[in-house]
Symmetry: C2
Subunit: 255 residues, 2 copies
Amino acid sequence: MGKVISIANQKGGVGKTTTAVNLSACLAYLGEKVLLIDFDAQANATSSLGIYDKSPFTLYQSLLFLEPLQKIILDTEVLNLKMIPADKQLAAAVLELANVPQREYLLRNLLGAVNDDFTYIMIDTPPSLNLLTINALSASDSVLIPIQCEYFALEGVTDLMDTVSRIRRSLNTNLRIEGVLLTMHDDRTNLSNQVADELRRFFGKQLFQTIIPRNIRLAESPSFGKPVILYDAKCRGAECYMNLAKELLSCEAKC
Amino acid sequence: MGKVISIANQKGGVGKTTTAVNLSACLAYLGEKVLLIDFDAQANATSSLGIYDKSPFTLYQSLLFLEPLQKIILDTEVLNLKMIPADKQLAAAVLELANVPQREYLLRNLLGAVNDDFTYIMIDTPPSLNLLTINALSASDSVLIPIQCEYFALEGVTDLMDTVSRIRRSLNTNLRIEGVLLTMHDDRTNLSNQVADELRRFFGKQLFQTIIPRNIRLAESPSFGKPVILYDAKCRGAECYMNLAKELLSCEAKC
Ligand SMILES: Nc1ncnc2c1ncn2[C@@H]1O[C@H](COP(=O)(O)OP(=O)(O)OP(=O)(O)O)[C@@H](O)[C@H]1O
Ligand SMILES: Nc1ncnc2c1ncn2[C@@H]1O[C@H](COP(=O)(O)OP(=O)(O)OP(=O)(O)O)[C@@H](O)[C@H]1O
Ligand SMILES: [Mg+2]
Ligand SMILES: [Mg+2]
C-alpha cells in the first residue's frame, strides 16, 4: 500500500508545486516508486516535468466518468517517477461535481486500483480550498504544508490548521500532518528569520528540520521541464530537497 | 462615478494584495478618494492596513443579506483611503451563494449605492476563479493583472486572457484590461529578464511602463499594518508604486 501525501496550503505561491515535483523526484531517485498527481488546473507540476502533449484521457474524465486511473498514468524522465497530468478542464470539474453524491471521495475511490503499484503517491493542490483540494485531502494519509517565510504565512496558519481538523472530523479520520516545511528562506533578511522563529515556536516538532532556501535554480528548472536534480544536482535547492526526502524516509522508519 | 478596478490573477503569490494595498494608498496620497475592498477570505489586504478588530457587520452579510455597504466601510491610517475588510466567512459564501439568482452580480448591485463617494474602487481577489473573483470582475470597469517575473507566469497568461474574455462575453461587456504589471522583478537574474522580455512581446502596450522590483520593504510593511508609503516612503518599492499610481492617472487623462 502506497502512502498518499497531499501538498497543500491555501496561500498562493508558497512553493507547493516546487515541493511536490522536487520531493517526488528525490524520493524516486532514492529508489521509492512514486506517483505524482497534478490536481491543479494551472498544471504547473505537469509542465515542470516536461509533459506538454496531452494524453487522450484526462484526470477530468476519470473524476467525472470514473475511468480507471491506469489509463492516464505517464512516465517521466526520472526513473521510478510516474505522473498523472492535470488538464484545464479540472477547473470546470469543481462546478460540475458539486451535486454528485460522494463528491469528496471520488479521488480516494479511484486511487484504490493503483495504490499497490507505488510506495508514495504525492498530490499537488491548487491555492484554494475547493472540491479538488478537499478530494485530495480526503484521499490522503497525511498532508505536507509548505510555508513561505513571509508575514502573510503567519496570518494563514490558524486557518490552515482549522481546515485540516475540519477534514479530519468530517471526511478522513486518518489525516495526519506529515510536516510543515519552511520554503524560500533567505537567511540574509530579518523578516525571513523572524517568521521562521515564529513558525518554529508554533509548530515545534511538526516542522521539518530541512529548510528550503530561496535558490534561483529551483525557479529556473521548470522552464527546462526538469526537476532540479536533473537540471543542477549540485545546487543548494537540489541538496535541500534531497535532504527533505531522506528526512521523510527516516521519519517513516522511526515514527 | 468611481472607476472600479479588480486586481486579479489565478496564479498564487504574484503580488495581487501588495499591489491592491500600495496602489490604493498611493492614489489616495495623490488626492484621489479611494475605496479598497478585500474580497479574499485570507484577509491579507485587511491586515496590511492594520485593521484587526472586526466590525459588527461583514462583507459576507452584505452579500448574503444585501446589507448596505456603507455599514461596513472603515477608515484607514491613510487620508482619502477607506476600506471594506474581508472576513473568514467569505470562503463559505462561495458555496452558499451557488444557487442564488443573479449570484454573479451581487457585488455590482451593492456598489451602486457607494460608487459616487469615490473616484477609485479597488478590489483585491483570491488566487482562484471562484464566485468571489467572478463577482469582482462583473462589477469592474477594468482588471489590473500583476504578473510575477517567473516561468509559471508565462504558462498561466493565456488561461488568464481566456478568462477575461469569457467574463466580457457573458457577464460584463465593459470589462477592459487596465494593464499588466510586472512584479517581483530582479534584474540580477536571467530568468526575471527573460520572462519580462517574453511578457513585453506578448502584451505590448498593455504592459505598464512601471515595473515593481523585488524589495524586502514591501514584504515587511504588512507586518506593521502600514502601506509601504507610510512604512518607508524612500525605498524603491514605495517609489515604484507611486510611479504606477501616476502612470494610471496620466493614462486616465490621455486614454
Ligand atoms: N525555494 C525557492 N527558491 C526560489 N524560487 C522558488 C522557490 N520555491 C518556489 N520558487 C518559485 O516561486 C514561485 C512560486 O512557487 P510555486 O509555484 O511552487 O508555489 P505554489 O504554492 O505551487 O503556487 P500556487 O499557489 O499558484 O499553486 C514559482 O515561480 C517558483 O519557481
Ligand atoms: N515586489 C515585492 N518584493 C518583495 N516581496 C514581495 C513583493 N510583492 C509581494 N511580495 C511578497 O510576496 C508574497 C506574495 O505577495 P502577495 O501576497 O501580495 O501575492 P498575492 O498574489 O496577493 O497572493 P495570493 O495569491 O495568496 O492572494 C508576500 O509575502 C508579499 O509580502
Ligand atoms: Mg502550484
Ligand atoms: Mg493576496
